[in-house]
């Protein structure tokens, strides 16, 4: 990054930002913006599906539009959730090994959930 703007002593001490704060911030904004219309779509869809039987839900999920938008919602919201949870561990979990293992476990869980969800959704679009 811009070492020109930093006091040489501060560089020597190695304190201050040298991590991924800006990248994290930006990804969180991007996913937030994407989630605004997706959440509206999701809430409206869930209201329409509430109380319906399985055949109706499966038929609804069979539509490529529904399956793909649902997949998008799932991927982006889990990515966004993972970003937020990483910050929460950084802020509140002081014990180093616990913080690191929480972060790793959450990363894995987010990928696993997204993969499992999207796989099921696409199976319903292309098969089912």
């Amino acid at each position: 990054m811009n070492h020109r703007y930093r006091n040489p002593l501060s560089v020597a001490r190695g304190l201050g930002s040298s991590k991924d704060g800006l990248g994290h911030w930006w990804k969180q904004r991007l996913t937030s913006i994407a989630l605004v219309p997706l959440v509206v779509w999701f809430v409206v869809s869930m209201i329409a599906l509430a109380g319906q039987d399985r055949a109706h839900v499966l038929n609804w999920l069979h539509s490529p539009l529904h399956g793909l938008v649902f997949s998008l919602f799932l991927i982006i919201s889990l990515y966004h959730a993972n970003l937020g949870l990483q910050k929460i561990y950084e802020d509140y979990v002081q014990v180093r090994w616990l913080q690191l293992s929480s972060r790793i476990a959450t990363n894995f869980a987010a990928v696993l959930l997204a993969f499992a969800g999207v796989f099921a959704l696409l199976r319903q679009v292309f098969g089912g």
Partner: protein, 134 residues
Amino acid sequence: MPMTMRERPLSPHLSIYKVELPMLLSGLHRITGIALSVGSLLLVAWIESAVYSAEAFATLNRFLGSFIGQLMLFGWTFSLIYHSVSGVRHLLWDTGRLLEVKQIHSSSKIVVAITIVLTLLAWILGGGFPGGAS
């Protein structure tokens, strides 16, 4: 690490501040974010059961229709709507708008009002609580 580490300044602890709506809402944004992260397990379970197993889908629906299930779903609905409305306010803040103290107080009330209205609306339209879900 250098030998000459100085004590770095700390921000004051939460307990010295007067409790006000904007600070409660700030905390609530994180709490609802955590709730939604946990809730994503429920969402994925719902998708999996719908696609793969009639029995699992029926079991999950029975649970969601129970008192605890309905309470969880209501909390989930509230969390999603609050976090989204509050999130939009965060995006507005990021553009440099509404950052005066007065505006933060008034927009806090607006966020609460919109959240209550939309949560109740979603819940009524979805047919929750009386009689339970199917």
